[in-house]
Amino acid sequence: MVHLSRWKVILLAVTLALGVLFSYANALSPAQRAALPGWLPKPTLNLGLDLQGGSYLLLQVDVDAMREKRLSNLSEDARQVLSEAGVGVSGIVRDGNGVVVTVADPAQTNAAVDALRQLLAGGVGMVSDRTVNRAGDDRVRYAYTDQALTQMGPTAVDQSIEVVRRRIDSLGTREPSITRQGAERIVVQAPGESDPTQLERVIGQTAQLTFQMVDTENSLQEALAGAVPPDAELLFDEQGNPYLVKRRVIVSGENLVNANVTTDQNNRPAIGFRFDGQGARRFGETTAANIGRPFAIILDEKVISAPVINSAITGGQGIIEGSFTIASASELVNLLNGGSLPAPLTVEERRSVTASLGADAVRAGQIATLIAFAGVLVFMILSYGGLFGGISVVALLMNGLLIIAAMSLTGATLTLPGIAGLILTLAMAVDANVLIYERMRDEANAGRSPIAAMDAGFNRAMVTIVDANLTTIFAALIMFWFGAGPVRGFAWTLSIGVVTSVFTAVLVTQVLLAFWFRVARPKKLPIAS
């Protein structure tokens, strides 16, 4: 040990330099950091939402509901296309991945198959996600493929993440983090936003816009009494007024090219929209055929308005009137432009902290850390004297530097429990020094020369130090695997702290003691009795 190997000194110097390089930026103000040349690394600690304030939302993508909706749409599609083709249908029943259509006249079964096959249309070389098969004399099966059904979930989650991102961006939230968690969950973390209500309202809305005809052939009264025709549905508007609406969707939000805030003739806020070619054509055809009848504009199963068609609308443009305010109209415009969610999202977990509460926590953490550090410093010097105690304090300082550098470099998040982890690390770091010193003292008291005592002290203590710290690392890793949010922050801080503290306690102590030994050539260890 006294023959201090050069590589240990170099290792120490390099680590120290790296430690300074990756932690110095934390001491600067944002303005000072910005003024630094670009090539300088300037990572800083990433504060958790509990320290800087912000909102955390855990969203569940309701894939089952979406699958259910798509499957029920199959029977609508089938009914529609078969009636257009003039095929009489005696029944449509759900069957596993799809529906089975029973044709009234078995002679028309082939015609039914052909008509349904039109629904499979895709581009050249595109494999359809649905199949049409004859399932008997008078029956045709129209269903999703197994692969399509299993793909539906993951695709919906991916699309949802995209839509949520676009919507949050439209709010102007600073640095939101949107990540997938598990198979069907999305985590949204938005720092600064102290009120999650708006965030939630904007994210949670499916924003499924559809234009459907109002059913004028059947009685609304009868429908309200329970006799809803199979091709229609009962919907309500904001005020609770009922509407009987045809299930068939004329045009949906998917055909929307652009939406914007505008005003109607009475100068009230309204929403202007423009359809793509397909949407414009379909809307034109339907309106031309239904002059004088009302159609319904429906957003997320709620009727916004049900205007009467005065003339064919062929340009693919129009405005939606309703009881909008400027704010609600622009929020809806953002939603429509951001696209609709493929599946409903439900908020499973929400947490929000105001920035001021976070700032209080940071301040308390800083004070607690400083006091704890000062206490440990005094205690070590009182216990082991200026030299040995001082050396352990130097090791502790370097440990602190390395922890900050490692956390800044890895982009780890410092949370409130993380600060507790940091403070606990202070105590654990001293443990390695204590083990080494106690061992040296034992060896010296057993009659060994200072040099032999120091060597044996290090070597023997090392076994125990590694043993003891491995147990803490195990506990921390488990917390990292199973824990969520703040607990992970604690686990990560503790793990980094354990590694750096063993490193500094052993290496710094070794190098400094070796220098001291060379210079002083002591006859007796100062910690020996």
């Binding site: 509990d50 569940q60 999650p196 439900t346 908020v347 499973e348 977990e349 929400r350 947490r351 929000s352 902290v353 105001t354 001021s356 509460l357 209080d360 926590a361 301040r363 308390a364 953490g365 607690a368 006091i371 704890a372 440990v376 205690f379 010097i381 009182l382 216990s383 004297g385 200026g386 105690g389 429990p417 507790a420 403070i423 606990l424 202070l426 105590a427 654990m428 001293v430 443990d431 204590v434 106690e438 003292r441 008291n445 023997r460 090392m462 076994v463 590694v466 043993d467 003891a468 147990t471 803490t472 506990a475 488990i478 917390m479 199973f482 824990g483 703040p486 607990v487 100062p526 910690i527």
Partner: protein, 333 residues
């Protein structure tokens, strides 16, 4: 040089306490405490969390924290406001904020379930609107809502984490020491974990994710402490082949005592600062860790080491059993 370090002179360098002599007494005491802790943790059995006060993390539900500065907070008024909204399972308590409100004069926390037939978001909005109306000036500093599915998973994960931690420690100890030690370490570990659960049950401190983290940390610390004592026992087993086991255990504990005290005191000091200054969310965490470290230190001295006497350890040159299993790091004589 020696004038610089008066404190260590206060601690006798060579102690000669007869720990093992009191092992029976303390063993019975520990057993009693363990039984009591299990009872208070599990009872009442019809409660999902037993005797523990589970937070929204594990039970689901909503939590809001509010500040009424500059008027002192009136908990009764908050309770009345919640009651007027027909909010179920409402619990209101004051809490302290580090720095600006260390005594908890201006801050309160309310936990509650969802109003029947109303979503969590709407329940929270209604409660906030009601409180804003009923209280003079109120600001909401923190909102949490955890759905039933997520809280169930968090609970399962928490239990899993504890189980995995204990099993992993067992495997580690089994690799590192002979089975006699492994068993002893386990007795000590269960002792510490159960007593920490007992602390949460008896004090009614909120049992949340952070509480699980504190129990896991206690597991780490307890093992750490036990390993240090065991390392020394094993070393002394090789050194003093003829010494009776009881004496040898006493000797080993005495030899490591100054380290045990030094490390324990620094950890307690650092955590004590945190308990005093940490306020609100960190206080239970720090208190649980302080308790765990005290219990962990006690158990490695009075439980994990003396318990070896119950089943003894294999020793002597004839058997290979007493030789330590080496794990990479060689200890040189």
């Amino acid at each position: 040089m020696s004038r610089f370090w008066p404190l260590i002179k206060l601690l006798p360098i060579k102690t000669n306490f007869r720990f093992v002599k009191y092992a029976k007494l303390f063993g019975s005491l520990s057993l009693l405490l363990v039984i009591a802790s299990v009872f208070f943790t599990v009872w009442p059995a019809d409660n999902k969390c037993g005797g523990l006060t589970c937070g929204v993390d594990f039970l689901g539900g909503n939590l809001i924290e509010m500040s009424t500065e500059p008027t002192p907070v009136d908990l009764a008024e908050i309770r009345a406001s919640l009651e007027a909204q027909n909010v179920p399972d409402a619990q209101v308590q004051s809490y302290s904020v580090p720095g600006s409100d260390p005594t908890g004069r201006y801050h309160a926390m309310a936990r509650f379930g969802n109003i029947e037939g109303v979503s969590a978001a709407d329940t929270i909005n209604r409660v906030k609107a009601g409180l804003t109306e009923d209280l003079d000036a109120v600001q909401f500093t923190r909102t949490e809502a955890v759905g039933a599915a997520v809280s169930g998973e968090l609970l399962t994960n928490g239990i899993m984490a504890l189980a995995v931690a204990i099993v992993l420690m067992m495997i580690y100890i089994w690799f590192r020491f002979e089975w006699q030690f492994g068993l002893g370490a386990m007795v000590g570990l269960f002792h510490d974990v159960i007593l920490t659960f007992g602390l949460f049950a008896v004090t009614g401190m909120e049992f949340s994710l952070t509480a699980v983290a504190s129990v896991l940390t206690v597991i780490g610390y307890s093992m750490n402490d036990t390993v240090v004592v065991y390392d020394r026992i094993r070393e002394n087993l090789r050194k003093y082949k003829k010494m009776p086991l009881g004496e040898l255990i006493d000797l080993s504990i005495n030899e490591t005592l100054s380290r045990t005290i030094m490390t324990g005191v620094t950890a307690l000091f650092a955590l004590g600062v945190l308990a005093v200054l940490g306020g609100g969310p960190l206080q239970p965490f720090a208190i649980a860790l302080i308790f765990g470290i005290v219990v962990g230190t006690y158990s490695s001295v009075y439980v994990a080491a003396p318990v070896l006497l119950l089943w003894g350890v294999k020793r002597g040159g004839s058997s290979d059993d007493a030789k330590p299993v080496k794990l990479g790091m060689a200890s040189q004589p």
